[in-house]
Symmetry: C2
Subunit: 367 residues, 2 copies
């Protein structure tokens, strides 16, 4: 097990610990109790995780109150689920000294983090991510949120965890589609921050896909180091943190237009290819990189074609309503080279003219 | 107009300004625009305030989107109202760079502060309190929250305002019952922090009740200074901030047991008398003070008798479920003397045996 400190430039807690390892889930509850000696605990998980042995591994024979989000996934990520959970916590007479444990993927972490942020003006949350996407991305950095009937993450807040426990053994129960899609965030991390990491991913993809402990631990550590460095620098996404949105502008739009039939990682893969095409059109190079990425995504069985039922106009409409638009047009995170994001006049989100974006979408529709 | 800085020991903003004066509401929008030049604005107010001229005074001819909470008051202070407001903000295409203006009493400030805290992971809120209770208490210090179907402020968060504008002229439209009840928080501030302020309130109550500008400005400044000093010291209510709950343990219980037919201040007046009786039973003195307070509350037309339909057992049940209980029994804030809270072993919330509390409630039931 390795430990890493992530600084939070904020009162009341100035850092939290991420523990990364394998087969240690059964020791986590004891560690949480040491960290938060006074508090009652409450577990939030989902119907998918409840089918696995993880919950039992975590809790042993302890009878800790819990909420199982049903159905698992995006459908439940809304304010009604939050209300149900909070009312259940009240029924269990949980006070301000309680803590929330999030056991599951990104959706569970997002909901549980938000619940913890607003329950009786805030209680700690411990993140125990069990998916590739949550271990690589969502469990670290404090973004939480749920959807309204109108848009994604309309309700949300920055809520840093009190601790993160990443047990890569939990990934063994994940279905292949989810497992592979989550690896796209690892590829994104390599692209924005570390060219050698991209080489590592190419060379070790076989072991990763076979879910071998060593490479899974390696990428978990690498992902957390890259993400932590970015969020420490810019916890509230004023500028640099935007680099984590590489591939996400068009990615999110495609995900949304697919009505969430595409997984987040599958859509972000399309968004990463789109960003690479834009980079080439802007003379930023990266022709070889595009080939490397196509091959890598191919090995993950991820289609790089925008699904047939989605139109260019849908995508353009969605990106013009993105949270990060300026005058109804998004800015794009682009690479200067593999492992380094383009920074223009101190800004990491760059204006790209509409024509270039449209041509890029056309290419991905025809593919 | 006077200005005061309140420190927040927290990133991203380390202080905010409270502006206090009279007849300056029509200049506030310009000040907000200077403070937050980029953002779109959104006003949250309620049906009571909408009937007055305050909204027009604030906005002039500007067409700024707004939400009018209907009906005004505690009934609307719930998560459904929050959801409605957030969906309206989304329909108005408000981005992360928007800011929320809260124009109204404590309920409006609580709802608007909470909405601002969770809208797209947080936007600034400007508090413009228009009631005695909000000007004395709720607009400063960052407590926000709404009720669940089970308990009060089950949803909530600490959200410091970007600025507070207190125009005491807005108090002129307040009905007498609300106006007088809100003054109880001023009396509470005097009791916990400043014996001379209590003398001032006794001597100047006539002018205050006549809503004269000078004494209203004086008490607004005094209240903000006292409250700011406490919340700067302990923003997240770990210990010292609890002194602001003087009279609130039994006060809240009576308010809740009355089904909110008693106004907050009316119930807190009963709670303050209860605390004074407990103090005497514990040998902390204050016999004269009790007489002073009875007279002062009498001049505010506030009854100090617990309403007939409320039983001792109801009150005991509610206080045993208080947010701040230890082993299902609340701790009490008590006075060492007028203007000074009792601090035992560094703690401002003191254990009081059940028998004494029961006897105190008996006295207030018989009164």
């Amino acid at each position: 097990m390795q430990k890493m400190e992530v600084k939070i430039p904020s009162y009341p807690k100035s850092s939290y610990t991420i523990a990364i390892g394998a087969e240690f889930l059964s020791t986590v509850l004891l560690q949480i109790k040491k960290l938060l000696p006074a508090g009652q605990l409450f577990v939030i998980t989902d119907a998918n995780v409840a089918k696995t042995k993880h919950l039992k591994n975590l809790l042993g024979k302890e009878n800790i109150p819990r909420f199982v989000i049903t159905p698992a996934g995006e459908k439940s990520k809304n304010i009604n689920t939050v209300t149900k959970i909070i009312e259940q916590m009240e029924k269990k007479s949980l006070g301000r000294d309680c803590a929330v444990i999030a056991l599951g993927g990104g959706t569970v972490g997002d909901i549980a983090g938000f619940v913890a942020a607003i329950y009786k003006r805030g209680v700690p949350v411990i993140q125990i991510p069990t998916t590739t996407v949550a271990q690589a991305d969502s469990a670290v950095g404090g973004k939480t949120g749920v959807d309204s009937s109108i848009s994604k993450n309309a309700f949300g807040i920055f809520k840093n965890p009190a601790a993160v426990f990443i047990d890569v053994s939990t990934l063994k129960t994940l279905d292949e589609r989810q497992f592979n899609a989550g690896l796209v965030e690892s590829i994104k991390h390599a692209l924005i921050a570390d060219a050698n990491y991209l080489t590592y991913l190419q060379k070790n993809l076989k072991g990763i896909l076979a879910r071998k402990q060593k490479p899974l631990e390696y990428i978990a550590v690498k992902n957390c180091k890259i993400k932590a460095a970015v969020v420490e620098d810019d916890p509230y996404e004023k500028n640099k943190r935007r680099i984590l949105n590489y591939g996400h502008t068009i990615g999110h739009a495609v995900e949304s237009a697919s009505n969430y039939k595409l997984l987040h990682g599958q859509a972000v893969a399309i968004g990463i290819i789109a960003a690479n095409i834009i980079e080439q059109k802007l003379g930023l190079g990266g022709k070889e990189r595009l080939e490397v990425l196509k091959k890598l995504f191919g090995r993950l069985n991820i289609s790089l074609k925008i699904p047939k039922n989605i139109t260019k106009w849908q995508i353009l409409d969605i990106i013009s309503r993105d949270k990060k638009t300026v005058q109804k047009w998004p800015r794009f995170v682009l690479l200067e080279k593999t492992g380094k994001v383009l920074c223009k006049n101190g800004q990491f989100a760059i204006q790209v003219e509409r024509k270039i974006v449209e041509e890029t979408i056309d290419i991905l529709l025809k593919k």
